[in-house]
Symmetry: C2
Subunit: 234 residues, 2 copies
DNA sequence: CTTTAGAAAGTGGTACTACCAATTGAGTGA
DNA sequence: TCACTCAATTGGTAGTACCACTTTCTAAAG
């Protein structure tokens, strides 16, 4: 019935108004991350378009983080990179005035979900990394080190959840929020942290850790919420 | 100290390895959505590059959803479009085998957060839309109409949260998950829905609605979780 | 004077050619 | 065996010409 209908390919539908991009997307879908595309000259002949038009689309796909062009080497299919999405987000946010505060909400939502799933999985090895981050946090004295340990904790939390999408989005968001966080913490980074505040942070993270270790998703989510509620007010 | 350091511009840092893209990003940041960029010929002269190189970057920025090129008319700064991110996601997901199931988790996380924030805001007008969706859901008989009402409910829930980022991500995700959802529901869409199941759905949504109306974030989140737990098993 | 049809200018889209710069790898030398 | 050189390949840029579409202005028709 249909002359050329690549069934099930959601990509082609999105490219309905651009056959060239559609062909490229179909080609890329059949390849695996790390694979090398034919050279621009060959590909242009193969798709029966000029190198100019081809490069235009390649640039677009590179912008989306799907491809990576390396001068002299070739064009390669990229692995899913959170920073590519982060880049797009950064661009989008800065050009459309999406408030950073509302983004923080998304981050909390993801972290809460990660805590719940980590508790459900209860992988002792992955959870151990969280414990290590907490210990580091308790042992150090410099604000910068505490922040580093904090990042390590949240990273290991996401890893413990074992949900690639969750990790992907969280890391992308993290990249977007990083410079804002850096700006706020820069002034304090080399000063010693108030002992009471540090103890509070350690306590919060320990509560999250305990809930996950106990395999209690609801309690883990609650612990995350209490954590963010507390640091939100300070 | 630094020769050209556009302080505070997070974009330029990301473009550190590509001066041309950096200049373009800086230019775009100073503009507002809907504004028209100079013509490619003018811009090429202005930035002292060839039109070829310029078009390559414009293609990239268009891929990111930041720009929109309209043949014969010009190039314009785009408003933040969730479908642009959805597009990038679609491409990324299909080319990196990110499981759809893990994406569903993200959606739940966002919806849970939206429910909490909606309860915190407790805007009677926006909440009324949720009620209307529930009523529609209870009144109809066709599976397709129930699904439509379901979508309307979740949409009004996000609106009631009043968090642009949350809405943005949820809609982007929704676009990605749409075709999958469509595939699953296609077979049932014209059959009458089992009465018990419909009643269950109405009950779930009513619980969420009640919690939000009562201004109880914790209960709202719990209701969302129970909802997704239930439909996840069926 | 208003409306409208058409011309003209401007814009993005494509093609083609030529050349540059970086990378790669095979071959050559020590 | 190792190190180096050099040529082929690849992406990056430049410039030109032309096409299709859009917008705007103009002049003719009412």
């Amino acid at each position: 019935m249909s002359i050329e209908h690549d069934a099930g390919s959601s990509l082609s539908e999105l490219f309905a108004d651009d056959p060239l991009s559609g062909s490229l997307a179909a080609l890329i879908q059949q390849m695996r991350p790390g694979d090398k595309l034919p050279s621009e000259r060959d590909l242009a002949v193969q798709l029966d378009v000029s190198r100019t038009a081809l490069r235009d689309r390649l640039g677009m796909l590179e912008g989306l983080g799907v491809l990576r062009r390396r001068t002299g080497a070739g064009t390669f299919v990229e692995t899913l990179r959170p920073d590519a999405l982060a880049f797009a987000l950064n661009l989008a946010i800065s050009s459309s005035h999406l408030p950073l505060g509302s983004l923080e909400s998304v981050r909390i939502a993801l972290e809460r979900q990660a805590a719940a799933e980590a508790a459900r999985r209860a992988d002792p090895v992955l959870i151990a990394y969280m414990k290590r981050a907490i210990d580091t946090m308790a042992a150090t004295e410099l604000q910068a080190d505490v922040l580093a340990a904090d990042r390590a904790f949240h990273q290991s939390l996401l890893r413990a959840a074992g949900n690639p999408s969750l990790t992907f989005f969280a890391e992308a968001l993290s990249s977007v929020l990083t410079q804002d966080l850096a700006d706020r913490s820069e002034r304090l980074s080399n000063e010693p942290l108030s002992t009471s505040r540090q103890a509070l942070l350690v306590d919060h993270h320990t509560r999250i850790y305990d809930a996950i270790l106990a395999g209690d998703p609801a309690r883990a989510m609650r612990a995350v919420d209490e954590h963010f509620d507390a640091i939100g007010q300070s």
